[in-house]
């Protein structure tokens, strides 16, 4: 009990303080705005001019009464009205300029920020992505940048304008009459305390409404994606009930905000009425005593509105401001992430390779999040693969097959030992020159949204249409692509979801084919694709592998049998290697694996 109170207190303290990392934020923001200095200056100038001009009506009205109306000087009144209209015109123009400039600078800075995050993400190594859920990274670029967006588009102007109006009104009230102003300011601590309580409480409440609505959307999404399972097992009522419960939670969270708003906003209104009363009473007496002019009192009453409005506006902004700042912190945290495995400064360009691959006493362990090493994934692997050789990697899940492939592509560097291509240590060559000569085909063929054409061309951007078609023909993909509605220009959809798994695989083969790599690393798909495509894939694979050094994480018997060498991995070590017949004769681990395979594949 006391523990939860203690965390609650520290949480409160943290939120009240809210200054941690302010220096970093300001420096970061300044860096973002720096390229647009000129526009930022213009923007601030138009904000100041516009706000100043918008404060003019109250003192002008006071002047009109005291120096025009009461002394019956109609000419003076006319002058004041002209000044009034000019002030209004200035506000019009300044606001228009400021609206456009704020949006321009804000959106441009956000665009730059997005590009900076994107470029930074690209520099980070694959190991970075494996330690973090994809959703979290995506959320940096989407939710967090959008929180900043809301701050820019909805709030920055209000923030500046409200603040300036508040300060300006303060000055005007003080210049009208010191005593009257001081009386009004008595209300300040009241409003201050109310706003503080409100903003702390509402930050929590609004966070809960966002969370609960997030749950609702997530649940809805899931019950739509899983609609087949829901129908199959006839669980519609349960889902409706669960949804209802989430809906009720959301209503409860919203109810809290309604209650808080119902307490806060009328209270502020009341304080403003109370201020009117105090000013009327005290100021009225002053007028009666001849201490101040009547116009001052009227102007003062008119200016009071300007004083309380910004306070309520600013406290409404508080949550937006908070989440924007939190988002900024998270974004900067990501940008501060140091890319490991940077290219060496003296890295050489790897010339055209023959495709000889050598692992020299390679051991590898993944790093855990806390920086410690996880258990060993590869243990003293020593292997030489000749140019043009096809090696099938075989072994149980977790035997180290995928790790082996990742080291060839230099997604990771070995913990001990060296990986060499044509005698060059991979750490000594540039990424570009290495990877442009490697082809990697992952198990789940990942396609980008765009046309079939652009996906194949991903492997060789300058490829002509004829070359693309030739690559597709070579792996046996041309036939199905032709049959698609728009042929090579058919959109494959997000992650290629308009194509079947087998078709995606074939496009990925074509993509690797056109890149024409000397060394090919391929993780074969396990699942059954439809019959028609299955044999096409086998043919495509054979053509793809021909004449290249190939490392295949093999799942199909046909591939394994067709390999020039089979390497059996277990627990990160090479336990056996040789041809299919040799290994069968040895009656070792491979022979055992093969028995399972053939039973599943063929036993009747």
């Amino acid at each position: 009990m006391s523990g939860s109170r203690a965390t609650r207190t520290s949480e409160l303290r943290r939120r009240l303080r809210g200054t941690s990392g302010r220096g970093r934020r300001l420096r970061g923001l300044a860096a973002l705005l720096a390229p647009y200095r000129g526009r930022v200056v213009l923007m601030i100038a138009s904000l100041v001019i516009g706000t100043a001009a918008s404060l003019a009506p109250a003192p002008l009205a006071a002047k009109a009464i005291d120096d025009g109306i009461l002394p019956r000087n109609f000419h003076y009144l006319e002058l004041i009205v002209v000044a009034f209209v000019i002030a209004a015109l200035i506000v019009w123009v300044a606001t228009a300029a400021q609206t456009y400039l704020v949006e321009w600078v804000g959106q441009r800075a956000l665009a730059d920020l997005r590009l900076a995050i994107f470029a930074h993400l690209q520099r980070l190594p694959v190991s970075f992505y494996e330690r973090r859920p994809t959703g979290v990274l995506i959320s940096r670029m989407t939710n967090d940048v959008e929180a900043l967006d809301t701050l820019v588009t909805d709030s920055v102007v209000t923030l500046f304008q409200g603040g300036l109006t508040l300060v300006g009104t303060l000055v005007i009230l003080l210049s009208f009459d010191l005593q009257l102003a001081l009386i009004t300011f008595i209300m300040l601590p009241l409003i201050g305390i109310a706003s503080l309580v409100f903003r702390i409480a509402s930050a929590d409440a609004y966070r809960r409404t966002r969370e609960t609505i997030g749950h609702i959307t997530g649940y809805l999404q899931e019950s739509l994606s899983g609609v087949r399972v829901v129908r199959t097992f006839g669980q519609e009522h349960r889902h409706a009930d669960e949804f209802s419960a989430l809906n009720e939670l959301n209503r409860g969270a919203n109810m809290t905000t309604v209650n808080m708003n119902a307490a806060y906003f009328p209270a502020i209104e009341f304080v403003s009425a109370a201020a009117t009363v105090a000013v009327l009473l005290y100021g009225g007496n002053q007028v009666l005593h001849g201490a101040i002019a009547l116009g001052v009192l009227v102007g003062f009453l008119a200016a009071l509105n300007n004083f309380f409005d910004p306070i309520t506006q600013l406290s409404q902004l508080y949550t937006t401001y908070q989440s924007g700042m939190a988002a900024l912190d998270k974004i900067f945290e990501l940008l501060d992430e140091q890319p490991e495995m940077l290219e060496r400064l003296d890295a050489q360009t790897l010339g055209p390779i023959r495709g000889e691959l050598r692992f020299e006493h390679v051991s590898f362990a993944y790093a855990k999040r806390d920086g410690d090493l996880d258990r060993v994934a590869l243990d003293d692997v020593d292997l030489a693969i000749a140019p043009g050789e096809t090696v099938a990697l075989v072994g149980a899940t977790g035997a180290g097959k995928s790790t082996f492939a990742k080291l060839v592509a230099r997604f990771y560097d070995p913990t001990l030992g060296r990986v060499l291509i044509d005698g060059h240590d991979l750490r000594d060559v540039t990424y570009e020159s290495l990877r442009s000569q490697l082809g990697i085909v992952p198990q789940e063929a990942f396609l980008f949204s765009g046309s079939v054409h652009s996906n194949i061309a991903f492997g060789a951007p300058q490829a002509t249409d004829a070359e693309i078609e030739a690559a597709a023909r070579a792996v046996g993909a041309h036939e199905f692509i032709q049959a698609l509605e728009h042929g090579y220009q058919t959109e494959v959809g997000e992650r290629g979801n308009q194509l079947s798994a087998g078709q995606r695989q074939l496009v990925a083969f074509a993509r690797a084919m056109i890149a024409d790599p000397r060394i090919l690393v391929l993780d074969e798909a396990t699942s059954n694709v439809d019959l028609h495509t299955e044999s096409r894939i086998e043919q495509g694979l054979r053509r793809l592998l021909a004449g290249r050094t190939a490392i295949v994480i093999a799942h199909r018997l046909s591939t394994i049998k067709g390999a020039s060498r089979i390497v059996v991995l277990a627990g990160g070590r090479i336990v056996e290697q040789g041809s299919h017949d040799e290994l069968l004769a040895a009656r070792g681990a491979y022979a055992e694996l093969y028995r399972d395979w053939s039973q599943v594949a063929a036993a009747a």
């Binding site: 209004a88 506000v91 123009v93 609206t99 949006e103 959106q107 409706a240 209503r251 009225g284 059954n528």
Partner: protein
């Protein structure tokens, strides 16, 4: 009934709340309008040196302020509850409607489209019903009451003062109508940007493998530029309209200052009345804008309402007649009588005049090429669809004439790409039987060869899976789904390529366990591997939506050349494939 009237009907359960919040709002506005009026009288009192009157009037303002405090707090509480109530009801209503619609409906809908009905459109409606309506009433009343007060003071000046009102309302309304589509387009493009980001993060290995960072960055830059451009379209609209909306009332104020001031000079107006006029116009600034914005809300809500009603008005098909009896008890005998099935009118039939009778308790393998109708046949047994022609019967009952829930409870299907919910492994296995004990769940998992790997998960059976939890491999997902189907304890079990992603050693173990599970149930097996087909008592060979042959292993060996070839070659896939190609060649294709 017009869409707008139907929307208002959602307020019916909250009639009392609506009336109360209207009354409270009106009373609060009365108090708000009274304050400048009294202030004006007070200024006159000061001008005339009537000190006693000043105190009275000041107390009156305090009283009005206090009454308003209570009234508007009350109004917010009542209106807030109405708004939240409507939101709650609407959301539940839409969800229940989605749950009652048949599977075929979802085949033709994009999830994103449906999502936006329940989120975006619903929001537009609830903003309008919850706040917009109140705002319209409130700002309309404010303007009307202030107008009444002003006309009471000086009709001529009141007419001048009110000139800007219709213009402000018109311009604001116009702006909110133009801004809406512009903003939606911004959102649309942000959506593209999100998709682009997602793709680049998920596909980072491919990008790095082909060293295509620069290319992807250039593509992303274009997407970012599109967002920027559209944001500027919106900004220009804002810069054009918002300052104008702020400027118009200032003209009214200037007119009051000039004309009203002259009247005071000529003793046609008191200084207090002049002050009151001035304050009223200041006070009306926000109701004028609010009215414009709220009218825009009403238009948006009507458009959204039309889309929501389109969904709500769709009658669920695939229902049973009222008071339909549950599926009769039985051994799970399945009969297809002249069944033809088209997924859409005019589409080629997925099943063509199928007659088939499977005795209860039997295990039947469905063999055939992709598109031969295996999955459709399975879906009809669970009545996920109704056949276009003919009848499907379980234990003698036409599925269309018995309670749907009882059919679904009797049939369990598990496929090659099963969907798991983002909850714990245990809850996923117990999906069809939420009240199952842990022992029963573990038993089902053991039979599906899933127990061992589940035990090794970080939280065992309590590990969360799916989008927001642990990602499990395809083979693991399939095993959890098999456990789910086993625990459902169905009369009829359908395994649609259910072990395709499971590795060879595990698959063999599942097969052994399944033999036990299948005992006493009617089981349909769809598989590409002969070892799986071998578990069946009888085999149905499907060819292009028709039953090509049906019989035991021995019978088919005897009379079906196709089946014989499958068995001899050992791999049904390659046999079917080469046969197909041969047939095509024969047909001159």
């Amino acid at each position: 009934m017009s869409t707008f009237r139907r929307l208002l009907a959602f307020l019916r359960p909250y009639r009392r709340g609506v009336i109360w919040s209207g009354a409270l709002a009106a009373a609060a506005i009365l108090a708000t309008v009274a304050i400048p009026y009294i202030s004006g009288v007070a200024v006159d009192a000061i001008h005339d040196h009537r000190r006693g009157r000043l105190l009275e009037l000041a107390l009156l303002i305090a009283a009005a302020g206090f009454v308003r405090l209570g009234l508007s707090a009350g109004r917010r509480l009542v209106a807030g509850r109405v708004s939240l109530g409507v939101e709650y009801d609407l959301r539940n209503l839409l969800f229940r409607q989605l749950q009652s619609l048949e599977l075929a409906f979802f085949d033709h809908q994009q999830t994103g489209q449906l999502m936006s009905r329940v989120t975006v459109d619903l929001q537009a409606i609830r903003f309008f019903l919850g706040y917009g309506l109140v705002f319209i009433v409130q700002s309309g009343l404010s303007i009307a009451l202030a107008a009444v007060a002003m006309f009471a003071i000086e009709p001529g000046l009141a007419a001048i003062a009110l000139i800007p009102v219709p213009f402000v309302v018109y311009v604001t309304n116009r702006y909110s109508r133009l801004a809406r589509p512009a903003l939606q387009e911004v959102q649309q493009r942000i959506g593209e940007l999100t998709a682009d980001t997602e793709e680049n993060i998920s596909g980072v290995r491919v990008v790095k493998a082909f060293a295509r960072e620069a290319h992807q960055r250039a593509r992303f830059e274009r997407t970012v530029a599109r967002v920027f451009e559209q944001s500027m379209v919106e900004a220009r609209l804002q810069a054009r309209y918002n300052p104008l909306i702020g400027f118009l009332p200032q003209i009214g104020l200037a007119a009051i200052l000039l004309v009203g001031g002259r009247d005071v000079i000529h003793h046609q107006l008191s200084i207090g009345q002049f002050t009151a006029f001035y304050t009223y116009l200041l006070m009306l600034l926000s109701p004028m804008r609010t009215l414009g914005v709220s009218l825009g809300m009403a238009q948006r809500a009507t458009a959204s309402g039309a889309r929501v009603f389109e969904l709500l008005d769709r009658n669920p098909r695939l229902t049973a007649p009222a008071g339909a009896p549950p599926l009769p008890a039985g051994s799970g005998q399945v009969r297809f009588e002249g069944v033809t099935m088209r997924y859409a009118p005019g589409a080629p039939p997925a099943l063509h005049d199928v007659d088939l009778e499977v005795p209860g308790g039997r295990t039947v393998a469905l063999v055939g090429a992709t598109g031969s109708g295996k999955t459709t046949l399975a879906a009809l047994v669970a009545r996920l669809y109704d056949p276009t022609d003919g009848r499907v019967l379980i234990d003698g009952a036409d599925l269309r004439e018995v309670d749907v829930a009882s059919v679904r409870a009797a049939v369990a299907i598990t496929g090659d790409d099963p969907f798991l919910f983002s909850t714990t492994v245990a809850d996923n296995i117990a999906y069809a039987r939420p009240q199952a004990t842990r022992a029963q769940i573990e038993d089902a998992a053991r039979r599906a060869q899933a127990h061992e790997f589940i035990e090794r998960l970080p939280g065992g059976y309590e590990t969360r899976v799916g989008e927001r939890g642990l990602t499990v491999s395809g083979g693991q997902r399939q095993r959890i789904a098999i456990a789910r189907a086993i625990l459902a304890d169905p009369r009829i079990l359908i395994l649609d390529d259910a072990t395709s992603s499971v590795d060879a050693t595990t698959e063999r173990a599942i097969k052994l366990a399944l033999a036990e599970v299948m005992a006493g149930r009617t089981t349909f097996i769809i598989a590409h591997r002969l070892s799986t087909i071998a578990l069946a008592d009888e085999i149905v060979v499907l060819e292009d939506g028709r039953v090509g042959d049906y019989g035991t292993h021995a019978e088919l060996l005897e009379r079906s050349s196709l089946y014989r070839e499958i068995v001899e070659k050992g791999l049904p896939d390659s046999v079917l494939l080469t046969r197909r190609q041969r047939e095509r060649q024969a047909a001159g294709l």
